[in-house]
Symmetry: C2
Subunit: 406 residues, 2 copies
């Protein structure tokens, strides 16, 4: 007998057949003696349909009304799933964001959960009901509907688990867990049995779509054990948990490639105080997120080269902004390169093992791969390389860090 939160994404509830399968899985957990909270996303395709309608009426729909619109998708899904569960003789009750008082800040489209009225949820469970909760949505303190951004239902699920102190938050998805690398690129990629929050956070930030970054932050903050598993079978997936003894023995947990960034270089900038603040202030104003930054002091004439990466979709805009500032900055030239890849190695073991960076650089060098930029954190090393070598680099690093063996 445990307290279980299960989250199903849009694909898992994509049509009435799939909704029935989800209902059966929920009921199996219930009949095994567990109290069950289910969090669901909108049926696959539904959100796109709504988005299309909104853009047919307004070129910039994002805001209060867009959230009202999108939240309807989860509303449909919870009602249908509750009906499918009831049809099988098991009590179920749907909850929308406002009904559970899922209070968020007022940032429409990417709101953050601030609090939940857990007693309402507990009362449903105590009454023997399966609580079917709409993911992705909340309300701001004034009662306006808000949404949590792409993957927000993961965060809803983890927040529910945290609020009621659940034993586990199960994230059902179309992959069966978290892998040491992308199995489409690295055929020897292994499913990771247990991974720490810190490592998962780095992987999520690096573009692993299996969990929304905020959901991992939430899980870490409230120490919620998360089980990422397949919605198609009952096999064990990957557990995201607090760091455990022995985790550090594995130096590198995963190797990833991310081709969604572009590199902007501003060459020959006058090296005077406030220059960086000026550049990155401008980019922040334009809401462009900067990832890696390198400044190479050039000895002659107090000039420096400033290089940074931005999401590929912002590359043209970032380049234009830099060109506009070139005069002010005294810059000689602005270059943009979209054919780059960020290769990263992640693992809490790096804290206690030296030489990881050296191994990484040597391995790439031995394959004739040039490193353009480097960035490190306590448990991550990332390098920017020519994107043509991305797959080669990932495979070589996967092997050298001992991840090929089960």
């Amino acid at each position: 007998m445990a307290l279980v939160v299960q989250k199903f994404g849009g694909t898992s509830v994509g049509d009435t057949d799939r909704i029935q399968r989800v209902a059966e899985r929920v009921i199996r957990a219930r009949q095994a003696g567990n109290d069950v909270v289910v969090v669901v996303s909108a049926m696959a395709g539904e959100t796109n349909r709504l988005v299309k309608l909104a853009y047919a009426l307004h070129e910039q729909p994002i805001g209060r009304e867009y959230d009202v619109l999108l939240a309807s998708g989860e509303q449909v899904a919870v009602a249908l799933l509750a009906l499918a569960i009831q049809k099988r003789g098991v009590a179920a009750r749907s909850f929308l964001g406002h009904q559970l008082e899922i209070i968020t800040d007022a940032t429409h489209g990417r709101a953050r959960i601030e609090s939940i009225n857990a007693p309402i949820l507990r009362a449903a469970l105590e009454a023997g009901e399966v609580a079917v909760v709409a993911g992705f949505q909340g309300i701001d303190p004034k009662g306006n509907i808000t949404t949590l951004g792409r993957g927000g239902s993961d965060t809803t699920a983890v927040a529910m688990a945290a609020a009621i102190n659940a034993d586990v938050c199960e994230i059902y998805t179309d992959v069966d867990g978290i892998y040491t690398s992308d199995p489409n690129v690295v055929s020897s990629a292994q499913k990771i049995a247990r991974i720490s929050y810190e490592e998962m956070l780095e992987l999520a930030s690096l573009g692993a779509k299996v969990l929304q970054t905020r959901s991992v932050e939430f899980a870490m903050k409230y120490q919620v054990p998360v089980h990422v598993r397949s919605s198609f079978d009952d096999s064990e997936g990957s557990w995201v948990v607090p760091e455990e003894a022995g985790m550090e023995k594995v130096i590198v947990r995963a190797v990833t490639a991310d081709k969604n960034e572009a590199r902007i270089s501003v060459l020959g900038v006058s090296d005077k105080p406030g220059m960086a603040a000026q550049v990155f202030g401008k980019l922040a104003e334009a809401e462009i997120i900067v990832d890696m930054i390198i400044q190479n002091a050039s000895k002659k004439a107090q000039r420096t080269d400033l290089t940074f990466t931005v999401p590929k979709e912002n590359a043209v805009q970032a380049q234009r902004l830099m060109e506009e500032m070139a005069g002010e900055l005294g810059a000689a030239e602005v270059r943009a390169d979209t054919r780059i890849a960020k290769i990263s190695a992640v693992g809490v073991g790096m804290r206690s093992h030296s030489g990881v960076a050296a191994t990484m650089f040597e391995t790439l060098s031995a394959s004739g791969i040039n490193i353009q930029m480097i960035s490190t954190s306590e448990i991550k090393i990332s390098v920017i390389i020519d994107d043509a070598y991305a797959e080669l680099a990932v495979r070589k690093l996967h092997t050298v860090f001992g991840l090929d063996a089960p």
Copy 2:
């Protein structure tokens, strides 16, 4: 400068083009200096799509979750209409049932509005916003979503108008007003300029689909002037208003035919106390609504014939129930006839004019039409006849009561 509530049905917001046309109409009213509250239904087809999904998962979905499901349709519509209004530079804000605290009783699927938080609505208007309100939905005192039944958005609109003491509640529809008879049957049918609440209530009860019965009750209770008009043009429609001096000069306001009832006759019932209570108790238990009732005392052997009408879709069930009770009742026979029509004449002028019934019976008799049942109220006479003569009867009565002329 007035305070106007406008209601648009599902057809009026059936696609993004139509939503834009509604937005333009709303803005015209706003720019003419009015404060505007718009009430909308779900986009045409949307409710059917949701109903189909629900029935694919549960054979009897009606209840709490079904209301959660259906209410999503209006949520989509208000968000889209608010976006379309905002796109044209006019401030707009959508409101769902729970946001306006539209409190209803807890009868899912046909809830009744009990109260509304009018100050919230007024605050939006004072802020210069068009308030775009989801029709058809509310919440019960516990916060569960409820729906108001078919045509419920009319009631939402009238309730809004009552709550903020609006100058008019405009109901936009695909007909351009209320007619003296069905123009498809009576080519000389005239648009009614002004009709009293009482008359409209009778017409709505007789199956006129242009306004939900409850919305008329609400309008009457709070004396809300209702203007039923075309969503396709700006022509004057029909006003539903408190009874005015001179209204009684028109003896009959409208003549209608309703073919949706069936007649059940239970013949040779023992005429003892409690018999009627037994019969109609049984029908009420089965939630079958009985309209007309006639009991013909038969002199011999203290036997009586009991005849009543029920909605056609309940005819088989009602007949079966009566057959089951036949022994108890000492009834000789149960007959059902689905080929009947109810012909009605409605008008507040009947109160002050005698001879209306006589004129009606004579007119039918002159056309060789046999009257099977008669029922009267203060402002209505209804007769049951063979449905083959329905159109003939309506045309003859329309002429004899002077309704053919403009």
